[in-house]
């Protein structure tokens, strides 16, 4: 009898040691929802010197789902954008603190609240606003790769980046657009399927012993600002903004003149009557990353000089002024011009006009034309 009870105890003990080891391996992560915790005691005692053994009943419960997650803005300051910029990105991070795998619905919002979280005032909305998950986990929005619009099967204590992507209007004078990412906990467990939004189990329901209850434990993500999120609602929200970084560019124009020939001197021609002079207009955008659109250069041909017909050339700077530029015609009908630049010469006002279009950030465009000295 004694030996049998000893064996029982050892077997029981060995089984529980194995269980303990298995859990030790899972480290600090919370016990997974659905895990059954059971407790049984083994008892030995003697009655009038005879050993007896017994076990208690097994008390058990099922670990419930503690839905907890955070959503934060995962960028420093606002996203700097330019007018008409396409697919401008704000970055967020969602971390699952639930003791189980979760899906999350993602809902991007235009925000017009002056929220106190962000500085500045919202005065425009981004267009074509979409939300994408960083599917390849590289922390950067990749238009062709990051196409998932909900978070699928996020493991406990795992994080994933989420991007709000939108286009910036071309409206002059706009400054800031505030957006927010609204995240809603949803049922996980089916890969590739957007789970249903979780509903917490009614606290007053009885007899929920052996089912996995859903308990919301998420924080109030906007705290004392009271912007809509409350604690334990299975939802979270974070804010970010787009700011038109540059309203002006440092555009400057440098004009220079070069005597090409004077009909007398083969080298070092002088500005004699009858000499041909090349004027060079060099326009430079000194602001990085921001292009200047619709740049138009006009220049009146000086008195006592005569414009050389068909001498307008536009292109990249180099050589004496324009390197490998394209020669523009003098008429105002630009339909036939396909090089991206147009130009004309108005004989009445003696004005040279060159439409050089967009000058990219830190780029330069040169315009050359020739006159002869009367």
């Amino acid at each position: 009898m004694m030996s049998r009870s000893l064996r029982l105890m050892l077997l029981g003990g060995a089984a529980m040691v194995a269980t303990g080891t298995a859990h030790a391996q899972s480290g600090s992560t919370a016990t997974a929802a659905g895990t059954e915790v059971s407790n049984t005691a083994t008892v030995t005692y003697t009655v009038n010197g005879a050993s007896q053994t017994t076990t208690s009943n097994t008390a058990k419960f099922v670990v419930d789902r503690k839905v907890d997650f955070t959503v934060i803005t995962d960028q420093t300051g606002a996203t700097q954008v330019n007018l008409s910029q396409q697919a401008a990105v704000t970055k967020f991070k969602v971390t699952n603190h639930t003791n189980g795998i979760q899906d999350f619905w993602l809902d991007p919002d235009q925000t017009t609240l002056s929220v106190g979280i962000l500085t500045g005032t919202d005065d425009f909305d981004i267009s074509s606003m979409k939300v994408f998950v960083d599917s390849n986990n590289n922390g950067v929005y990749d238009a062709d790769v990051d196409t998932q619009t909900y978070i699928d099967e996020l493991a406990p204590e795992a994080s994933v980046a989420v991007f709000i992507v939108g286009n910036i209007p071309s409206t002059v004078g706009i400054h800031e657009a505030q957006v927010s990412l609204h995240v809603i906990a949803a049922a996980g467990g089916a890969s590739g399927t957007k789970g249903a939004i979780l509903i917490p189990t009614d606290l007053s329901l009885g007899n929920a012993d052996n089912v996995v209850d859903i308990v919301f434990a998420d924080d109030d993500s906007d705290g004392l600002l009271n912007l809509g999120d409350v604690a334990r609602n299975g939802q979270g929200r974070a804010y970010a903004s787009y700011v038109i970084g540059t309203q002006n560019v440092a555009l400057n124009v440098t004009k220079s003149a070069l005597v090409l020939s004077d009909g007398v001197n083969l080298v070092n021609p002088k500005a004699l009557p009858g000499a041909t002079v090349q004027y060079c207009l060099l326009v430079h955008n000194g602001t990085a990353l921001t292009g200047a659109n619709g740049v138009v250069l006009t220049d009146i041909v000086p008195t006592n000089t005569t414009y050389v017909p068909g001498s307008i050339s536009v292109g990249l700077p180099g050589g004496t002024c324009v390197l490998l530029g394209t020669t523009e015609d003098d008429d105002a009908d630009d339909a036939a011009e396909i090089d991206g630049y147009t130009a004309n010469y108005n004989t009445g006002t003696k004005t040279v006009t060159a439409n050089v279009g967009t000058v990219a950030g830190l780029a330069s465009v040169a315009v050359a034309f020739k006159v002869t000295i009367n």
């Binding site: 303990g20 049984t40 009038n48 097994t58």
Partner: protein
């Protein structure tokens, strides 16, 4: 009685122990409770125990063993062994309960301060309550009809 036996058999099978459960005069009931904190009208935190129907990681749970001598003879040398269930971390003796002996390996039992945990390289370190995997109570005698309750507090990992 037959039903109790069946229940005990199922219970024994569930934890992987051999399905032999002798029914003797000593009846032991295992129960699990969850601590629930509530604010009373004065704003003070009060703690109450509720059956463990709702338990999430981080919750404080209390394991209770209630024993009763249903026989006519006094019992002696009672040893109650309670392995700490997986996913549970031992914290302290329950309120009003005798302090148990603790073990990290199921072999050496003693107060926490005397327990050591082997580490790599043949060394060992002092055990903490997180290391406790077995709990044992010893009771010298229980008179006929006598009963009592033992408990320990723990945290659901």
């Amino acid at each position: 009685m037959a039903r109790t036996l069946i229940t005990a058999l199922i219970a024994a099978a569930a934890v992987g122990t051999p399905a032999v459960a002798a029914q003797g005069p000593l009846q032991v009931a295992s129960k699990i409770f969850v601590e629930q904190r509530a604010l009373d009208k004065a704003g003070a935190v009060s703690t109450s125990l509720a059956p463990a129907t709702r338990a999430v990681p981080g919750d404080h749970v209390v394991f209770v063993l209630a024993y009763r001598n249903t026989g006519a003879q006094p019992l002696s040398d009672i040893v109650l062994d309670n392995p700490v269930p997986g996913a549970i971390t031992y914290r302290a003796p329950g309120a009003g309960s005798a302090a148990p002996l603790l073990s990290v390996d199921g072999k050496t039992y003693g107060p926490l301060a005397q327990l050591r945990v082997p580490t790599a390289g043949g060394n060992s370190r002092a055990a903490t309550s997180n290391d406790v995997r077995h709990i044992r109570w010893r009771i010298a005698t229980v008179p006929a009809g006598g009963q009592g309750q033992l408990a320990f507090k723990a945290v659901l990992k």
